[in-house]
């Protein structure tokens, strides 16, 4: 979602901020994978829908966002 290389968030930080409302967690896998298993509180924003729906799902451009997919790429 940014032009530069995306910085990483560690698992430990993600766990510690799991219920932090200031952090939006986004699952970019297809909807079916999101339904199968997801990190609690994740929003579904499949990669294919990213250009169209990013502005509505993530209206705040300066918000803290953690994105994840299936496994290390």
């Amino acid at each position: 979602m940014t032009d530069a290389a995306v910085p990483q968030i560690s698992r430990e930080e993600l766990v510690s901020r799991l219920y932090d409302p200031a952090l939006t967690i986004v699952n970019v896998l297809p909807r079916a994978a999101w339904e199968e298993a997801r990190i609690p509180r994740s929003l579904s924003l499949p990669l294919a829908e990213l250009p169209r729906r990013a502005a509505t799902v993530l209206p705040e451009k300066r918000a803290d966002v953690a994105v994840y997919c299936a496994s290390p790429t």
């Binding site: 979602m1 940014t2 995306v6 910085p7 990483q8 968030i9 698992r11 993600l14 766990v15 510690s16 799991l18 219920y19 409302p21 699952n27 896998l29 994978a33 339904e35 199968e36 298993a37 997801r38 990190i39 609690p40 509180r41 994740s42 929003l43 579904s44 924003l45 990213l50 250009p51 729906r53 990013a54 509505t56 799902v57 993530l58 209206p59 451009k61 300066r62 918000a63 803290d64 966002v65 953690a66 994105v67 994840y68 997919c69 299936a70 496994s71 290390p72 790429t73």
Partner: protein, 305 residues
């Protein structure tokens, strides 16, 4: 795309599940908060476990263990505990006295009735420091937990207040739209006055629609389904009335900057409200309302933002 604080959890769901962390399944997020009296769900998340019991247990264990150590050290000549200048003995009663000394030291009280000698002095200082640290952490956890509870309560109250205002404002704006439509139909008011009132109503309607849109697109702040259904019904009614009102005014009058902007906002936001496009799964009745809202948005015949 302009997002400046995005970070990637590289391990993905595979690492998450591999670490044995909890996951959500199914097409609706797990309920995350306590239902309120109004049937809405406040935007709070369950507080993470912050039990102080493990710390208290550690504190107790340290004091008990060091009491035993002090008693054992008394076997070494020149080390141990002294009471009224005399070394403590090695019996069970002396063991209890050593434990008593240990707790007095752990609590940083220091009565002075029993004093450490030799190696025990060093241990007692370290024990005092460690126990103070643990106590500090316990107090901080208790205070922090209370603060989190208060903040969650404030958020809940503000959220319910906001939901109430959304419903009230939608009701008022629908009433206003109906009144304007009456003026428009009987031609009793000048066209410019009608357009000004429509502009004003459109601005309020767009604001409330944005609030509803945010509710639907942020599952962690979603209200209860009964509350949501009521809001969606109001919204649907508002869009219906708005559509019929627009038919009253000449197309060139719609070109006023304020009205055109608000109409595009209304159409754009309402277009994104449908059963399958919001990021959370809802009951069929709610999806029906959402689909109707999307249909009404398309019926407005206004280009999206």
């Amino acid at each position: 795309m302009g997002y400046v604080r995005v970070r990637d959890f590289d391990g993905g769901i595979a690492e998450w599940t591999g670490a044995g962390l909890p996951v959500e399944k199914g097409d609706a997020p797990a309920p995350a908060a306590v239902p309120s009296a109004a049937g809405s769900r406040a935007p709070e998340a369950p507080l993470p476990s912050r039990g102080v019991a493990p710390l208290l247990s550690a504190w107790l264990a340290i004091n008990l263990a060091l009491g035993l150590v002090y008693w054992l050290i008394s076997y070494l000549p020149g080390h141990g505990l002294r009471e009224q200048g005399l070394p403590l003995g090695h019996g069970a009663a002396e063991l209890l006295e050593a434990v008593y000394f240990s707790f007095v030291t752990g609590l940083s009280i220091g009565f002075g009735d029993i004093v450490p000698v030799g190696l025990v002095r060093v241990l007692a200082v370290l024990q005092g420091a460690a126990c103070l640290l643990i106590f500090g952490v316990i107090i901080s956890k208790l205070v922090s937990r209370r603060q989190d509870e208060l903040i969650a309560e404030i958020h809940r109250i503000a959220f319910e207040d906001r939901l109430g205002r959304v419903r009230t404002n939608l009701h008022l704006v629908v009433k206003e739209i109906q009144e304007i439509a009456e003026l428009c139909r009987d031609g009793s008011a000048p066209s410019s006055a009608v357009v000004t009132r429509i502009e004003s109503a459109a601005a309020i309607f767009a604001g409330e629609l944005r609030a509803v849109h945010d509710l639907l697109y942020r599952p962690q702040t979603a209200p209860g389904e009964d509350v949501l259904e009521s809001i969606l019904a109001h919204l649907d009614g508002g869009l219906r009335e708005f559509g019929s009102l627009l038919a009253c005014i000449a197309p060139d009058r719609r070109d006023s900057a304020a009205l055109a902007t608000n109409l595009r906002t209304i159409a754009g936001l309402a277009e994104e409200i449908c059963g399958d496009c919001v990021p959370r799964e809802h009951a069929p009745d709610l999806k029906l309302w959402m689909d109707r809202i999307q249909g009404r948005a398309r019926g407005l015949g206004v280009a999206r933002v």
